[in-house]
Amino acid sequence: MTDYIWFLAKRAALLVAVIFFGVSAAFFITHLSPIDPVETALGRISSQASFSPQAIAEMRQTLTELYGTDAPVLSQYGNFWRRLLVGDLGPSLIAFPTPAMTLVMQAMPWTVALLVISTLITFVLGNLLGGLAGYNQNNALFKSLGMLAISLQPIPYYVVAFILLILFGFVWPVLPISGGYAMTVTPGLNLPFVLSVLNHAILPALSLVLVGFGSWFLGMRALVSNIVTEDYVTYAELAGVRKSTIVGSYVMRNALIPQITGLAMTLGTVFSGTVITEEVFNYPGLGSLLIDAVFEGDYALVLAVSSISVVAVAGAIFVVDLLYPLLDPRIRSE
């Protein structure tokens, strides 16, 4: 038990450290900028619509509090943390005056859903097929699947998404290539909306699955082909243990342990991939939001999206890490 608590404590410390350093980095990088964000923002806002001087003064005050040049950087930094903890990072520019945090929270479910579903599919599919391929090394079907994985694996998210966009947008236009749902349906819990959402998610999810599949497949295949030479597998085979038991409980089960660690380690990369894919397919998630915010020079929103991304990814990694001891009794035990 103490081992388990130790493990938890270490992982929790990592969680805190990642959030601390990641969010701080986001803050300080944005503060490297020589531009005065408050005046840029105000100029932009007042050029778009007319506001009462009082409203502008109020805005100036909130914005100054957020990145203001009047306070020393360190106190701004403290202030930023305080605001982040209460979930208020000021109004966004791209949808003024909606708070940046509100926009982030609206986009979040889309990204989380896309990420979770595609990661699950990829992880299960890649590990299952990779495991079987590692166990049946001379099977022609698995060999050609391996070739496919090798040729897909190195291609970056953007290029795969782009190729799919070309294929299904121009060559054979059967799937929606843009947006999260069709214009004709009303958002809510109704069948046409759900179907439309699913339909729109196919291409983004497919491109994430295609890219991710290769590395799980190849990783699992390599792991399994090492594990089948382990003594405990050979021994079980010699004792005539049932094949399905050997593949499942002896080989795959042991290979899954490093793969779960791998899942935690790649979540950051997968998140980046999701963000990129969203942009290609104009998917209404954090990625599209981030990119819009950058183009519009929306300080508050950029900072909000990056900070929340860091927190979300670190949290997800923590959750996956918690799974690890469930799979490996060597950590769980006293």
Binding site: D231, Y232, Y235, A239, G240, R253, N254, P329, R330
Partner: protein, 342 residues
Amino acid sequence: MTDDILKVSDLKAYYQMNYYGNNFEVRAVDGIDMSVRRGEVYGIAGESSSGKSSFVKVLAAAIRPPLRLVSGSVRYDFAGHPIDLATADARDIEAIRWKHLSYIMQGSMSVLNPVRRIGRTFEDFASRPLNLRGRAFRDRIVAHLERLKLPAEVLQAYPHELSGGMRQRVTIGLATVCHPEFILADEPTTALDVVVQKEVLKLLRDIQKEMGAAVIFVTHDMSVHANVADRVGIIYAGNLVEEGPTREMFSAPKHPYTAHLVASLPRIGDTAQRPALDGRPPNLAKPPPGCRFHPRCPLAVERCRREAPPLETVSPDHRTACWRWSEVAPLVDHGMRQEVVR
């Protein structure tokens, strides 16, 4: 000899190596003839990488690439199930595993699945051959573990939660629970400290007696052979070089290599300087011509360099492969060790 349960003739098994275009063979088992009688403990000795484990792997039908059976036959005469491993098909071999023939692999520390409870492992291994399930199966296992002085709680444990000695007894339990007629035990006690080792040996011996199983017991530790084996065979560089009743092997070895192995045993109160054996065992990819032992042999003559000696019978049950066996004298005066377990 109708009472042989195992008869091995002219057995050759090589590791086929291919290192980026360099092909070569490691002749780990190179022409072994021997047999084992029903209910007997046959000890196999020899220094590291002489091919002991490779030989046992072949006997256990555990040949995996790069190991390859080159020639010879391995005939078991199980009750109602005579079988030649060299020609039998996979189905027949499956049918004898664990029921008739079980195997304790070298390095028992790593033969248990680290993420499976011991109880589940027992189920995987023994439920089918015993044709028992549920309560009845559990009772049977618990009774068997009791004989091995293991509490029933080990069934709930994971391998890493057990001590080395317990794990060793668990593997012995796995190999014996189905009451096989033949047990191949490859260094089952090597990693244990002396006290635990003795205990485990005694258990193995008791179980073997009780079940009347034949055992091939591999260890490079001659003192263990003195304690458990009925007969001992010495393997050197892939060849069986001498074989005989344990007592005779210790008191009157007929091969200079055996004489050295016996002489290197430590004895209480012995301060005499013992001659050490120089050199290393030969590279099995390129064994020396003639007798493979000749580069290290104090008795080697010209003939040994040219011609490999055959395994000839020198007294009942005692065979040796040495041109000058009649000149081999024990290097030290040697009684049997005192602490014989049986």
